[in-house]
Amino acid sequence: MASFFVLKTISKLLGKALVYLKEKESLAKKEFYSLPTNLKVSMQIFGGKTLLEIYKKENRLTFSNKNKEEFNEEIKIIFKNKKSASACLLGKFGVRESFCRHDILLSGNINTAIILVRLIEIAQKYLLPRVITKKFLPKTPKEFASIKLYWFVLFGSANKLQSKENNKNNNKIEVKKTKLQKKKETKEEINKNKEKTAEIEIIDAENAENVTEIEEKSQNEEVL
């Protein structure tokens, strides 16, 4: 059974892994974006000891394992004791089996919690070796090597990654915007040109009428 300090450390690594995965792994990204906005989740051991607090704010995921007062989480995942927490987080049992063993209490909307279960399973797929996960996860292909995740979890910065990805996305959005703007501009130009040609045609038509009037007048004068 791991000590509380070890469990806290593992939970923090899990939080960091979730940040990386929600940027880089397509399924995790989909699950993350299906979570309600401004969702606050805390993972605890029964008796009030906080392991991890997660906050989804718009497109960012922040995490902490300091017990913030007035966190006001919507979902609380509570392990009944340290043994249950160790068994689940270290992969002795999967999250689903931990639930079936009544190792986990849950306060809040169960439907939202299930999305979190899938996110944790995705994280475990990358963090834990296959020898451990084969007991509770089916074999599915990884989108990148686990070593990349380990590197990030140990040395990377969650804030930097999310800012970088946000900038990328903003650039993409800007590029899209400029492309759209260009399209709009060209459309507007075409419409303006059309209007101009229409005006010219009207002027030409008017001029043509004037010319015919003048010609008629001159003809009439000649006749006279």
Partner: protein, 389 residues
């Protein structure tokens, strides 16, 4: 199956002929002198509530609420809790099907925890033991088994989502299984609720949370349903009583072992298309069992004995028993469907291809998907939905 499990069977079951005649004694045992009667307008209209009141004489109910809607909602629960407090009631007697019983459970939870809004109590095993509130349930269908389950599903009116509550604090003190309450159930309702009970048993026996005690109840329920469903459809009262008992046993089984993919998708069909729960079970049980067959072949092989008989079991090769079980189940459902004319395609309930994505999403996020023995993916669910489309 895990090497640790929990089983809670604390509800007293009073079952059999004239069971309701003992209600007065049970209320006295629970120190309840002013119970609140809960029911719905359907039961008032068809006379079942009058039959109940006659059967429980000399018990009289000074306070009644008989307008529980088809779906339990947080608004109704809070309203009933206020009625209970204002009339100084000291117990609840719920007479009805799943919605009435779930509503009554919600009311009991609010009262025992002394809170104003039930939403704060949603979750799994998060509620502590509270104040004592005498609570008796009389089911009027033979499918849900809600009279013995520690689960309630209640609609949050504000967010329009269904909230799940799992707690032993939801359990009644006592329930009454009296044929008088289900004798005149229409054939379609009898069949669909019986198949719901059968699904509870099969899923409880093959779920990730299965345990040896639940297994006994599940197998017993399968045997009772298989042996009595067709006779009950022909009007046999003993068979109808047995179905009521089977539903209770199935409820006890799945309350402790949970269910799986059939219920996960079935709940989603109910939420999106308003498909009646029992009918959804009839639609889904066969394709879902085929999906689970590779991980549950031992369980399905064992179930063949209880669904059929010793001869069929013995003469079927061991490696074919799981397939034969599913085939026999399909035959049973086809028989009852032909007798009752129940429609079993999604298009019969107004489904279009556009709704399949939403149904899939809801099924994936249903609590029952966690305890299915095989992990679901969206593709798996879509395949099953297209099969029954």
């Amino acid at each position: 199956m895990s090497n640790y499990f929990e089983f809670n069977g604390q509800v007293k079951v009073c079952c059999g002929e004239n069971a309701l005649a003992n209600l007065a004694y049970e209320l006295d045992f629970l120190n309840c002198k002013n119970p609140l009667l809960l029911s719905d307008e359907g039961l008032v209209a068809c006379g079942t509530l009058d039959v109940f009141k006659k059967a429980v004489k000399p018990v009289k109910f000074k306070t009644e609420f008989t307008k529980i809607p088809a779906d339990s909602s947080t608004l109704t629960i809070n309203q009933i809790a206020r009625l209970y407090r204002n009339n100084k009631c000291d117990g609840i007697v719920a007479v009805g099907g799943g919605s009435v019983i779930d509503t009554a459970k919600g009311v009991k939870l609010v009262l025992s925890q002394n809170c104003e809004d039930i939403i704060t109590l949603s979750g799994n095993e998060i509620v502590k033991k509270g104040n004592n509130v005498a609570f008796i349930v009389v089911p009027t269908t033979c499918g849900t088994g809600s009279e013995v389950t520690a689960v309630a599903v209640i609609k949050d009116v504000k967010t329009k989502t269904k909230l799940e509550f799992i707690s032993s604090e939801l359990l009644p003190d006592c329930c009454f299984l009296d044929l008088k309450m289900t004798q005149n159930l229409p054939a379609k309702l009898l069949v669909s609720t019986a198949i719901d009970a059968l699904t509870h048993s099969v899923e409880a026996y093959s779920s990730l949370q299965k345990n040896p005690i639940s297994d006994v109840y599940a197998l017993g329920a399968v045997k009772l349903i298989a042996g009595n469903l067709l006779d009950a459809l022909d009007g046999d009262n003993v068979a109808k009583s047995n179905l009521l008992l089977a539903s209770n046993m199935a409820g006890l089984a799945f309350s402790n072992s949970m269910v799986g993919i059939v219920h996960a998708i079935g709940h989603a069909l109910g939420a999106v298309l308003n498909v009646p729960h029992g009918v959804a079970m009839m639609m889904l049980i066969v394709p879902c069992l085929r999906f689970n067959k590779d991980v549950n072949h031992v369980e399905y092989s064992n179930l063949l004995l209880y669904l059929t008989n010793e001869d069929t079991f013995a003469y079927t090769k061991p490696n074919e028993r799981a397939t034969t079980f599913i085939d026999k189940l399909e035959e049973l459902i086809t028989k009852v469907q032909e007798k009752t004319g129940i429609e079993l395609k999604l298009t019969d309930y107004g489904a279009t291809e556009k709704e399949l994505d939403l149904i899939c999403e809801k099924a994936m996020n249903d609590g029952a998907s966690v305890t299915n023995n095989k992990i679901l993916t969206r593709e798996d669910v879509m395949e099953i939905l297209k099969e029954i489309f």
